[in-house]
């Protein structure tokens, strides 16, 4: 096993709680609570305009009050959405969950998705991931556009806020610009956690530059090691400390219930991954 140096703390585990065809909140809340009992870092909720399913961020908000500690990480796409709305919604998820929000950035690359909006044609993934990176940048700027102690409620001067602590962001991207500041005060975590699925090559640069957590779907320990090394290398080249980037291996876990489809778990830690997740339900294995 190659030594990657520092950056490996205790094992981190997350779980995907996607439930195709489920539009009510109960089953999602049950899975999130199960994950919470297992002390997982976070649960993810996938989302795409290209297939049936509810708005994932809304589902995350809906289950926030029922849970207390587990992170809530919906997918939020950046191609046909408004960066200003996206950052406000993610910041608000952080507020309603009292500091447990993250978001998995994703792009909408198909012509079919473009036709749902009728505003721009499909574009190459490289271009869309560059834009996703800019959305991540402007989100961070907007989250920081309110300093933490902006609200002062100074009755003597009649001022609710100290406006010197609010900042226009004046972001000029290739495809959009945002003046700012945000309408939402800085969220409890400052920056909700950014997750990128870095399995596909066009997403890797964005993951290395912008993600707190990169997911890689891999088939073996060796692949996981290689992907992690590549991402850390890219992060270092973009001027980041590679240790701030967590790399999670995504794998399907068969919990042994014959009728249930495998659920996806992701984890970062010393390779090989643990024999049993903290839920202790069943051994997890590398799919072959």
């Amino acid at each position: 096993m190659t030594d990657h140096g520092s950056g490996r703390g205790p094992l981190h585990i997350a779980a995907a709680i996607d439930l195709p065809g489920t539009y009510e909140s109960g089953p999602y809340a049950e899975l999130a609570l199960l994950a919470e009992r297992g002390a997982l870092d976070f649960v993810t909720l996938g989302d795409s305009f290209a297939r049936p399913g509810p708005d994932a961020l809304a589902v995350a908000a809906r289950i926030a009050p029922a849970t207390g500690r587990v992170g809530l990480v919906p997918t939020v796409t950046t191609t046909h959405t408004e960066p200003f709305h996206v950052q406000a919604a993610v910041a608000t998820l952080d507020w309603v969950s009292r500091g447990r929000a993250g978001w998995t950035l994703d792009v909408s690359a198909t012509e079919a998705e473009a036709r749902l909006f009728g505003r721009r044609g499909a574009a190459p993934p490289e271009e869309l991931w560059r834009e996703a990176g800019e959305v991540a940048d402007v989100a961070a700027l907007l989250w920081d556009s309110w300093e933490d102690d902006t609200e002062i409620r100074d009755v003597a001067s009649g001022r609710f806020i100290d406006r010197d602590k609010l900042h226009h962001v004046d972001f000029e991207g290739r495809t959009f610009s945002v003046r700012g500041p945000s309408i939402v005060p800085r969220p409890p975590q400052g920056h909700p956690v950014r997750v990128v699925d870095a399995t596909a090559p066009p997403a890797r640069e964005a993951a290395a530059r912008h993600a707190d957590v990169a997911l890689v779907r891999v088939a073996s320990v060796r692949q996981a090691d290689a992907a992690r090394a590549e991402l850390r290398g890219l992060a270092a080249r973009s001027g980041r400390d590679p240790d701030v980037l967590r790399v999670f291996a995504a794998l399907d876990v068969d919990l042994g219930a014959a009728s249930a489809p495998p659920s996806r778990a992701t984890g970062e830690g010393r390779c090989p991954p643990p024999r049993a997740p903290p839920t202790g339900a069943a051994p997890s294995t590398w799919p072959t």
Binding site: Y23, E24, V59, T92, S157, G158, I161, V178
Partner: protein, 442 residues
């Protein structure tokens, strides 16, 4: 309500009152300087108000929208509450801590796209088991547009045609699945939108979320009559309320709709006291808190359109004339005719000997119902029975306790008079409002 003082739901013979609650926040009604005032951002404040509204058997809980922080003299306005969380996300979370209360979000039809927004509202309707409502607004200007890809500016007429087409497209999406669970392709090609594909969400429990329209303009009234379930209005006097009510209800027949298909709910404030005198005293106190000396000068500058910071709020009004072309205030509704408003304010100030602050208090503070719980209950019942309204959207001035006394003291009196439900009869917002479920257009 723990105390069912009289009768059962629906037993009253007269017209029933509908009540809704407006979250206090970014407006000049909210008093943040009161020691009881808490966060306008923390989820606990939303939860407290929503739970109180549900305890009071309200139809729905209403959130306003802001897409750019307001500016004044080129700087961010700092005298009122500033900032708010994003509404649809807050409401999804509130669906977890309430069971029957309708959840209404104000969302611009200008800075959104039909596919995504229809999907977000359909999702909320599913996640709340049929309690979602959308207050369709069209406020758009270049100032707000600077935060969005779309940018730009639409003139007034375009704003409404775009909103109407947006809503029609959304309804088409909400109807696009074959119940219960088969997606079907949709296509909408209009002046403002050309979209096609498959929607990602089955028809939601209410069929279509409840649609609210806010605004009193002729275009707004027509839009509401053609497409809305609830109209959120501001009426001044009972006479103005009755005229508005008759006008809007009269427009419904053109669209094949009946008067019951559109509920008229003015936004109102209230102040309660144990005696009429005490209520008046509290009301005056609240007005003074709403219009701080700094806010009085700012209100004046919004009319005059020039810097008046050197004026004494406790002194007389300026004798210079307003600048009608001013861009001093950004992100606010424009004052229609500054010269006329200034003339009116001057006349009032001279007639009553009022200072700047007193004049602003007198002209801008909106307090609709002031009195004892009994007199307020009677006025509410009377306004509804006289066809000045179908109900009210209450705008409390305090977060999060601003509804407590109303629910505790006024609601039981409305129930006693047979004018208000003593329990929720249905589970959906449509059922609370007595609205029909929209026919599925397959």
């Amino acid at each position: 309500m723990s105390e069912k003082t009289a009768g059962h739901a629906g037993q009253g013979t007269g017209k029933q009152i509908h009540l809704a609650a407006h979250f206090p926040g970014v407006n000049s009604t909210t008093v943040w300087s009161d020691p009881r005032s808490r966060s306008h951002i923390d989820f606990s404040s939303f939860e407290h108000l929503a739970r109180t509204a549900e305890r009071g058997l309200f139809d729905f809980f209403f959130l306003a929208e802001g897409l750019r922080l307001r500016e004044h003299k080129g700087r961010i306005h700092d005298l009122d509450v500033v900032g708010r969380p994003e509404s649809l996300t807050v409401l999804a979370a509130l669906a977890a801590v309430t069971e029957r209360l309708g959840l209404a979000a104000t969302v611009s039809a200008t800075f959104n796209e039909p596919f995504e927004l229809a999907r977000r509202f359909a999702t909320l309707d599913h996640l709340s088991a049929g309690r979602a409502a959308w207050n369709v607004v069209t406020t758009s200007d270049a100032f707000t547009g600077e935060n969005f890809r779309r940018g730009g500016y639409l003139d007034r007429a375009d704003r409404y045609t775009r909103a109407a087409e947006f809503l029609a497209a959304a309804r088409q999406l909400w109807d696009s699945w074959t119940p219960p669970d088969r997606p079907r392709p949709f296509a909408h090609h209009g002046e403002h939108f050309a979209i096609e594909g498959e929607f990602t969400v089955p028809r939601s429990p209410q069929g279509h979320p409840v649609v609210i329209q806010a605004g009193d303009s002729p275009e707004g009234r027509e839009f509401a009559a053609s497409a809305a379930d609830v109209i959120f209005t501001r009426h001044g006097t009972p006479e103005a309320g009755r005229a508005f009510y008759a006008d809007v209800k009269g427009r419904l027949a053109t669209y094949g709709r009946t008067p019951d298909d559109l509920k008229i709910m003015p936004g109102v404030t209230y102040v309660l006291g144990d005696t009429a005198a005490e209520a008046q005293e509290k009301a005056a106190e609240i007005r003074r808190a709403q219009v701080s000396p700094q806010n009085a000068i700012l209100a004046l500058e919004q009319v005059w359109g020039v810097d008046l910071s050197s004026y004494d709020p406790d002194g007389p009004l300026p004798d210079i004339d307003p600048d009608p072309g001013s861009e001093l205030a950004q992100g606010r509704v424009k004052i229609g005719d500054p010269l006329a408003v200034a003339a009116k304010w001057r006349a009032l100030s001279e007639a009553k000997g009022l200072s700047i602050r007193q004049t602003v208090i007198e002209t801008t503070a909106r307090q609709t119902f002031i009195g004892t719980p009994r007199s307020v209950a009677e006025e509410l019942v009377e306004a509804v029975r006289a066809d000045a309204a179908d109900g009210f959207i209450l705008i409390p001035h305090l977060t999060p306790g601003g509804l407590d006394d109303f629910v505790e003291k006024v609601v039981p009196l409305l129930q006693e008079r047979g004018a208000y439900r003593t329990e929720y009869e249905g589970a959906t917002l449509r059922s609370h409002l007595g609205l029909r479920e929209p026919v599925w257009k397959g």
